[in-house]
């Protein structure tokens, strides 16, 4: 098997699921660094240079809210799902389950 091609396809496959993973992870309030750790702990490694801009984009789309707070002697930005984000997460979860079920039947 062509490893390079597999890697490209694997990344493509994962890319679409990252938004769903981030939204799901932010049902609990977290700041960037701990969010990344939480995703990694569940097997979803994500580069900082991808994660942080994504958080800002989701906030700009009204799916997240953020707040600067001091913790461990430093100011950190905490993110959590907004009500709009919760509705979006529910809709995307349903979609994901549909896709997953279809694929399971095919695979």
């Amino acid at each position: 098997m062509d490893r390079e091609l597999f890697e490209t396809m694997r990344l493509e496959l994962r890319r679409g699921t990252l938004v769903l993973a981030v939204l799901a992870c932010l049902r609990t309030e977290r700041y960037g660094y701990t969010l990344r750790q939480a995703l990694a702990a569940d097997g979803l490694e994500m580069e900082e240079s991808t994660l942080y801009p994504l958080l800002r984009r989701l906030e700009g789309q009204g799916l997240l809210t953020s707040e600067w707070r001091e913790e461990e002697k430093r100011k950190k930005r905490f993110y959590v799902l907004s009500p709009g984000g919760e509705a979006m997460l529910a809709a995307l979860t349903e979609e994901w389950r549909g896709i997953n079920a279809s694929l399971e039947r095919l695979l």
């Binding site: 660094y33 240079s49 942080y52 801009p53």
Partner: protein, 376 residues
């Protein structure tokens, strides 16, 4: 300044001013969190090299800042790129064809300047090509940036798609190939040229004819200029070319004939290839072209070349010039004004004779096709 602050400064310089402070503060927290985690792991402070390794993992400042940028990630996005590529390919082919035509005209006008004509054609192709690519990229970037979606991007019709064959050099080559055998060898089996099967003559030839007639018409009406036709250089100096009175006399006739030819070409393309209608239309057209060529041939004086005080007429025609003058021209030594005029006169005489014979043959061919082909 600390290595981390230097890195953040480089990122900040690329960020929009309104978000800069906020983004840099968040990035600083991220970097410091990673440094602290690593220090905790090692039980000591990190060296500058180790901090730099973390910054490398986060990414180059230009890339990190670009991820925060609003708007498109690329000048031409994946949706627009195929259109850009088509425009670039088709445009470059058209520019190459126009330059080749210009080169041909230049060489016929001044055979002595073949080298200069070649270099001008290359220069024209590269400068035209680069301008085209720049203009296309600029237009694409504006469309991408402002999310402009013209109707042709979304509301296209299958019947309008034949023009997209323009960007396929194989089709241009096939349309130029003289024989059906060559066309069938150049193209995949059953491939279509301008919406017509490669085996069917007509539409491709008509498209070529339409393009070149259009360029000729623009030049004839003075909209575009080919300087090589009005002035060229011999070893002995600059030569000015003036048209003989016959061209003024026949100006309107030539204009009407070329326009009529373009109409017939357009009809041929619209009908998807040549058929009984277009063959019939081409017969009076070819007859008119023979009459025109004969009027020019019979006039015998076509251009006047002037170099300083020296004047030479480009002449030819029926007065026994075709054979003897060409032979004389080929043996003339040097490239003086008189010799050039004789050469041009002989070449033009032959061109007119060949054109008349060619049009005569095409009349016979079209009559034969009409007689042997059933109506569609």
């Amino acid at each position: 300044m600390d290595i981390i602050e230097r890195y953040l400064e480089a990122v900040a310089a690329q960020l929009p001013t309104e978000d800069r402070e906020d983004i840099v503060a968040e990035l600083r927290d991220l970097i410091l969190s990673r440094v602290e985690a690593r220090e905790e792991e090692l039980g000591r402070a990190l060296s500058d090299e180790e901090k730099e390794a973390i910054l490398h993992e986060i990414g180059h400042p230009l890339i990190v800042a670009a991820r925060y940028r609003k708007g498109p990630d690329s000048l031409i996005g994946p949706e627009l790129f195929p259109y850009w590529l088509f425009g670039a390919k088709a445009g470059l082919i058209v520019i190459a064809a126009v330059q080749a035509l210009g080169l041909l005209i230049s060489v016929l006008g001044a055979p002595a300047d073949f080298g200069r004509a070649i270099s001008q054609a290359f220069h024209g192709f590269f400068s035209g090509g680069l301008t085209l690519l720049g203009a296309l990229t600029l237009a694409g970037a504006i469309m991408e940036h402002y999310d402009i979606k013209p109707k042709w991007l979304t509301k296209w019709r299958v019947r309008d798609l034949s023009a997209f064959g323009l960007a396929d050099p194989a089709k241009w080559g096939a349309s130029l190939a003289g024989t059906e055998k060559a066309k069938s060898e150049w193209l995949p089996k059953g491939a279509r040229v301008w919406g017509v099967r490669a085996e069917t003559r007509g539409a491709a030839d008509a498209l070529w004819s339409l393009i070149f007639s259009g360029i000729f018409l623009l030049w004839w009406m003075g909209v575009i200029r080919f300087d090589a036709l009005s002035q060229f250089t011999l070893r002995s100096g600059e030569v000015a070319v003036a048209a003989a009175p016959i061209w003024s006399t026949l100006y309107g006739v030539i204009l009407a004939l070329v326009t009529a030819g373009m109409v017939v070409d357009a009809v041929t393309i619209a009908r998807g290839g040549a058929d009984r209608v277009t063959w019939t239309l081409r017969i009076p057209l070819a007859a008119a072209a023979i009459w025109l060529a004969w009027r020019l041939f019979d006039a015998g004086w076509w251009f006047t070349l002037t170099q300083g005080e020296q004047v030479a007429k480009v002449m030819g025609g029926p007065a026994n010039r075709i054979g003897t003058e060409l032979l004389r021209a080929l043996h003339l030594e040097g490239r003086g004004l008189e010799e050039t005029a004789v050469t041009l006169g002989a070449v033009l005489s032959w061109v007119l004779v060949i054109a008349m014979v060619g049009y005569g043959v095409s009349i016979v061919q079209n009559l034969w096709r009409i007689a042997t082909t059933r109506a569609r």
